[in-house]
Symmetry: C2
């Protein structure tokens, strides 16, 4: 199973009211019926072409043979089906040849593919990210030549940021782009960790690459963005010569193994021509502009790996017979399905709470992207940008921490079968481990949240966001069965406010930032708790309605129960973490390097 | 690196005073000098034969070719070196041909091999476990024929408990053992998850197998223990015919891939002869008797996988240059080693706290095994047995949860390199994931702790153990720099006592047990906190001594700092969990099966 459609429709239509977005002229082609049809199509293709080959591409990694990357043929077949359905073009504007769907729909669609097969979906994910960047900042000429083949899925794209010596620290990249008299830049350098960096499954590969123009400012301020195709492209769009990009080696990872991941050398074997995208020295700024969407995407992919594990383990728990309940004294009585055991339910509940809480957050953030795309009021736009900026480190990191934990529980539910490669749950776990690092590590996200997003405006955005969460609390206070949770969240928000005040009042920046990762993690818990209270509120209203079917009753009950679980079992951990942050503890900061072994 | 010898000597001699054990006549051959020599030998063999092949055996799993299991040749070479050094015989009594070393020394020795290469070490681990069982319950004749070749490492052993339909629920095994007139039993059935179950690297394989004698009691009370050799053994010890044990298939796991893991069929192709070990129907009791040592071993192997990751990532963090500190504004200033970043130190500290806390616990439990082997006073024996029983679920489960988490942080320290198979940290993580399930899952350990060990005697053993921990608190209260931690642990013990009282007062067993796994996890944190306070106490006394070298000063400082970290960052989480347990929350227990997706 790759999707719980009832759940998805709940989040899209009942929780987030996506039809509100469809009412905007930009998205008017996407009413509820159309959205459902598109989800049907996505589900069908994902189940037909992506899911069945997930184990195959995991077991048969890309190989480097005679200078070429060799992949299982099925990868190209799956991506062709994806392209034929128009999914590469889905979120792009009609004026550049896209279908102009809301980002939230694109996110939901991508999610099904990620859940079915995250490794193959990565090729599309990166192509869309690269196309997004090109669309936002490229000249009309560049768009004309490169964007359309990418939106058609004929050419794929990559993002080339890291280098062997510069990953988190992008200011230290060494790749150069030297301007020539012919208007091209000559690119020279090595790029590391390039997913989809080399293969033969698309007609061309369009690399969006960060490089420095010699003589520019030092550090991140001297970084520019270039489009560098694998094969050169003539003015008329036809393919020309190779562009002197050499595959130096493939990285072999523990998960997402079906995605080719490369160390590439640009320009050592001859001229490697690049096109400047936008203006010189603004590469980092452009990247940041696109990062919100990309980080929502990584967070959501993490949720989807956990969703796969959750659905599989729930299904397994209902059918696997093992053990008896405490009141079954007769050893010859039949064994019970393991879902009857409280601890198995706890492991399923932990997964449900993480997966459905985080899915709601990811799709909520995607609706903020859509609101930003249609909002015209400058004040509201500014607020939307700020809020999205605040939530971006959370949406990237919370799932990659806690949905990875969910994958751990999925394995545990299956017992010894769980870690066996005949079952998919260990693959989900391996796949998901990558999400905590790529597209900005946990530590980087913590620094972004506390250092830039919270401290950057003296906590104003956070305070306004806290007020927004308090509106939900006000509603919950009126719902008898959610009053306890309303009070818990309220107390948490008070803790969060006070902790933040203490941190911002700390004048030593190293001390303020010493526990930034913990702060991020705790803040994430608070945000997910908010998402759960919102879900439970919707459910509580429905549950009292007359004439509900048993299945609907169970569905809404499940929302309230999972909310209660999250508040009872998970939220207290966040308060403990906030308390560490508020103490301005410097145990780790002050620890001498010599105290560590090795 | 596979061991921090300074750390190991601290735990053995300064914390646990293992020389106290050496003073017992049984262990008098093992003075401090001898112990150090044996550790030197183990380290040398582990580094020479086990460590260099760890990646190889991970990448080249056992294969099933023409009815045989084919392994990398290096596995046999490594185990031959292990045998030649006498390590199979190390913990056994001299009267059966062993070296009669303390169990704590055997544990420390095994640890080095586990850290170097847990997959290959498993063959020895299982052989020693099987031999241990045979030694305790086998007849002289059986011991004469089978034990000596096992102690010499010529024959290997296995433990055959699980079947495809019965893993955690052993009472449901179907394998039968039918007595014949010749004194043999005919074994018939399938056994699943048999590590080391079939291979060609030892002269014979001695299976210790649980089976039911037809007509016996139902459930666990009808299970008996049998010795079933792969090849029959004549009275004179020479090898006879094959014993009709067929390899049905190999399991392919996410970790510990170098250990062959089998589904075996006993007796389908003809008579499969088994020898009854001990008395009929006492198989489970015998297994439980051996389980303390085996579970210490699994917990310790889990610590060792985490130690490998910790030492590797600490070393990496000292040499990898990336980023700058907040006060380095110049982007052209050199990058710093990442160990300078507070969040990297936090990740190293989290690993140190988990690894060194859990290692101390494992070796402490091993000393309890040794005390039990030499103690003659019946009262004290009973108390030692009770305490070891109480700690067994903790020593099995705490490392497999929190040292796995440590492995996660080791990957995180390495960034993208961390999840790449060119570096060992992702392998440690995959290897370690198994430990949370095999030899009794987390859930099983929770039920054992709360249901059997705590509730079984109305909490008496726990209360006495709490008093023991309070003795450490009394000492810490007199150490100025540990007063805060003493107060924290004291408050925690009060929480633990009260929570336990509430649980034991709950008359509905399902409700009492609903959060048993959380209770176990929180109790584990308390025990590890105690271990840390004990370590910090030793360090605090040393740190004030005159004439300490810088290295020694750093070492002891590290103990105090890590203790502080554990109390500041980790222990509060346990109190939050205890509070859930004390609330007798039944959210998961009561959740309808229908609320879960899938």
């Amino acid at each position: 199973m790759i999707v719980d459609r009832r759940e998805l429709e709940f989040v899209l239509f009942e929780l987030l009211d996506v039809e509100r977005i469809s009412r905007q002229p930009r998205y008017s082609a996407f009413d509820r019926g159309t959205i459902s049809q598109i989800l049907d199509t996505a589900q069908q293709i994902a189940e037909e072409h992506f899911l069945p080959i997930a184990a195959e591409v995991d077991a048969n990694e890309p190989q480097f043979i005679d200078g070429q990357v060799v992949l299982p043929e099925s990868t190209a077949v799956a991506l062709a089906a994806y392209a034929d359905a128009g999914f590469f073009a889905l979120p792009f504007a009609q004026e550049v040849g896209g279908l102009q769907a809301p980002w939230v729909l694109h996110t939901a669609v991508s999610g099904m593919f990620s859940c079915a097969n995250t490794a193959v979906t990565n090729y599309a994910f990166l192509t869309i990210a690269a196309a997004n960047l090109l669309d936002a900042f490229g000249s009309d000429d560049l768009k004309h030549r490169f964007l359309q083949p990418m939106l058609a899925g004929r050419w794929f794209g990559t993002m080339c940021l890291s280098e062997p010596q510069a990953g988190s620290s992008l200011g230290d990249i060494c790749t150069t782009a030297t301007p020539g008299h012919d208007g091209f830049y000559r690119i020279r350098g090595n790029k590391m960790w390039i997913s989809g960096g080399e293969h033969e499954i698309s007609g061309n590969i369009v690399h969006m690459i960060l490089a420095k123009i010699p003589g520019g400012p030092a550090g991140t301020k001297g970084i520019s963005l270039f489009l560098v195709p694998k094969r050169r492209v003539e003015k008329d769009g036809s393919l020309g010569l190779g562009n002197n990009i050499a595959l130096v080696g493939l990285n072999h990872k523990m998960g997402q193994r079906g995605t080719t991941n490369c160390l590439l050398n640009f320009g050592e074997g001859g001229d490697c021509l690049g096109y400047l995208v936008g203006e010189p020295h603004r590469g980092i700024e452009y990247m940041f502009h696109m990062m919100n969407e990309a980080r929502i995407g990584v967070g959501h992919a993490s949720v989807m790996s956990a969703l796969g594990g959750y659905l599989y383990s729930a299904d397994y728990a209902r059918t696997r017979l093992q053990g008896r309940l405490a009141n079954q004294k007769d050893p010859q009585s039949p064994q019970v399905p393991i879902i009857k055991h409280a601890d198995v339910r706890r492991m399923l509940m932990a997964q449900k709470a993480a997966v459905e809480g985080a899915q709601a957050l990811c799709l909520y953030c995607a609706t903020l992207v859509d609101e930003l795309a249609t909002e015209e009021g400058p004040e509201q736009r500014k607020w939307l940008e700020k809020m999205l900026g605040l939530l971006t480190p959370v949406v990237k990191s919370w799932p990659s921490e806690h949905c990875l934990e969910a994958n751990k529980w999925a394995i545990q539910v299956l017992g010894g079968y769980g870690y066996t490669r005949d079952y998919p749950v260990e693959r989900f776990y391996r796949d998901n481990r990558l999400n905590h690092i790529h597209e900005g590590t946990f530590g980087i996200q913590g620094a972004d949240l506390l250092g830039r997003k919270v401290n950057g405006d003296g906590g104003q955005t956070l305070q306004r966001f806290i007020e927004l969460m308090r509106e939900t609390i006000s509603q919950a206070e009126k719902q008898g069965q959610l009053q306890k949770e309303a009070a818990q969240l309220d107390a948490c928000l008070t803790d969060l406010s006070e902790t933040t005040r203490i941190l911002l009042d700390c004048t030593e920046s190293a001390r303020r930032m010493a526990n930034a990762t913990l702060y991020l993690d705790a803040f994430g818990h608070v945000v997910i708790a908010w998402m759960w209270l919102r879900q439970a509120l919707v459910a509580a209203k429905q549950v009292s309605a007359a004439g509900l079917s048993d299945a609907e009753q169970d569905f809404y009950d499940g929302k309230i129960v999972a909310c209660r679980y999250f508040y009872g079992y998970e939220l207290p951990l966040a308060r403990a973490q906030l308390s560490v942050c508020a103490s301005l503890d410097t145990t780790c900061l002050d620890a001498s390097e010599a105290v560590f072994g090795g």
